[in-house]
């Protein structure tokens, strides 16, 4: 195993977040890294995935040649519908999101801070693709989980005292899962919950800007 391998990190993060889901939960996965979560739902656990363009009950990608032009997810990729799926318009879809009906949403992140602020949609000076549905998702879901690498490609911390990039939403993040640690945000502090197997608490502290509230006993998560 190569700790710096993209696929390794992706699997590690996706698998750990999947453990946050309970049987019968309704969940929205952002595009990119968060979609990995769907690959690790434990056997015997039913979790229903929404796609905000108007469907509950997203199934796995179709086999090649079986794509339906009218059946895509929020990232534009072809999907399938599981039995019990249903379609609705975008207004109802965001009613579900904003109204607090989703048990969990998982999104990528550029920066998260101690207040639970998330920045993940805009880098000043760069092309701004738009927030799409991200602001609504982070504002509305019962539990907001950020899936991201612990540091940027230059090794800079992404878990900060204060986000400096434009925010996606204020004080809404509940949990951060990275390739190094699982961190809960509570009472405007970052609480270290678990660290990736093979790392030390010190490794995580060094890669994180704010002071971490440490657990009584260190727990580990692995691939």
């Amino acid at each position: 195993m190569d700790r710096n391998d993209k696929n390794y990190k992706r699997t590690l993060i996706g698998k750990r977040i999947a453990k946050e889901l309970k049987d019968g939960d309704w969940c929205n996965l952002g595009i990119g890294l968060p979609t990995e979560v769907a690959n690790h739902i434990p056997e015997g656990t039913s979790v229903f995935f929404q796609t905000e363009n108007g469907m509950m009950g997203v199934g796995p990608a179709p086999a090649q040649g079986e794509e339906d032009k009218d059946l895509i997810n929020a990232g534009g990729g072809f999907i399938t519908a599981i039995p019990g799926a249903c379609y609705f318009d975008s207004c109802i879809s965001f009613g579900i999101i904003r109204g607090g009906h989703l048990d969990m949403t998982v999104l990528g992140g550029l920066q998260v801070d101690e207040q639970g602020n998330l920045a993940n949609w805009m880098i000043p000076g760069k092309m701004v693709p738009g927030m799409g549905g991200a602001m609504d998702l982070v504002t509305g879901a019962k539990k907001v989980v950020v899936a991201m690498e612990h540091t940027d490609k230059h090794g800079n911390a992404k878990l900060l005292k204060n986000c400096c990039l434009p925010l996606t939403a204020k004080e809404k993040v509940n949990l951060i899962v990275t390739d190094m640690a699982v961190i809960e945000i509570k009472d405007k502090r970052m609480h270290l919950i678990e660290i990736a197997e093979g790392l030390t608490v010190d490794d995580v502290i060094k890669a994180t800007e704010p002071e971490l509230v440490l657990p009584k006993e260190i727990k580990y998560f692995s691939i």
Binding site: D23, G84, G95, G100, G140
Partner: protein, 215 residues
């Protein structure tokens, strides 16, 4: 995933002083079986949210006849002498709400909005005591969301995921109430297997439903 329970169990979940939305329009599209069980239990001091007060022997009117509500938010109570008498005697507190505003206030709660900006009621008693906002030269009353502990609704058919379809005008307020309460109980004429309802035809997605009663 919703639980399938019986009407008696459903009725026992409802406690005194709780706020309940009942789907119904003049007793059409109303969970009569669950209501009968709440009548039997005699649960008191409930708060009613419903389009109208139905009839003395049908719909939410059965609960009104037994004086089980201490207060109500409705748009019409002209069809039920029980509530009229209690209203005149001061036994029940009633907020009378234009029907469209009532629906939209419930929707606002369900969709996570802070209120409704409506022209309905401007220049009438409905406006009294409320903020009126001027937006681009036009006036709107700020109406607040309406929430509830329970929504007790009626659908024609549910699959085991809670996806619902309705029958004709029995749809009425049921889909919007399903979005706005802490817990939602649906009474259906038929429970079918997952996959037996065409995904295009689902009116209320299962995510909104907590309990299903076959009656």
């Amino acid at each position: 995933m919703p639980q399938i329970i019986d009407a008696k169990t459903a009725a026992s979940l409802i406690k005194e002083n709780e706020r309940i939305m009942f789907g119904s329009f003049l007793a059409v599209g109303c969970a009569e079986t669950i209501i009968d069980e709440i009548v039997k239990l005699g649960t008191k001091d409930l708060h009613l949210i419903c389009i109208a007060s139905d009839y003395e022997d049908r719909g939410v009117g059965k609960l009104l006849s037994k004086k089980q509500f201490k207060s109500a938010q409705v748009s019409h109570l002209g069809t039920n002498k029980a509530i009229q008498d209690q209203y005149n005697n001061g036994e029940i507190q009633v907020e009378m709400i234009p029907q469209g505003t009532l629906m939209e206030r419930i929707r606002a709660k369900g969709a996570g909005l802070g209120g409704v900006l409506t022209p309905t009621g401007l220049g009438t008693v409905v406006e009294e005591g409320k903020d009126v906002l001027t937006i681009d030269g036009n006036q709107f009353i700020l109406e607040k969301p309406i929430s509830a502990d329970w929504a007790i609704i009626k659908a024609e058919k549910a699959d085991k995921m809670g996806n619902l379809v309705y029958s004709k005008t029995a749809r009425n307020s049921n889909p919007v109430m399903a979005t706005a309460a802490e817990k939602v109980i649906v009474e259906v004429s038929e429970i079918v297997e997952i996959g037996d309802i065409n995904p295009e035809d689902v009116v209320t997605p299962g995510i909104f439903i907590d309990y299903i009663i076959k009656a």
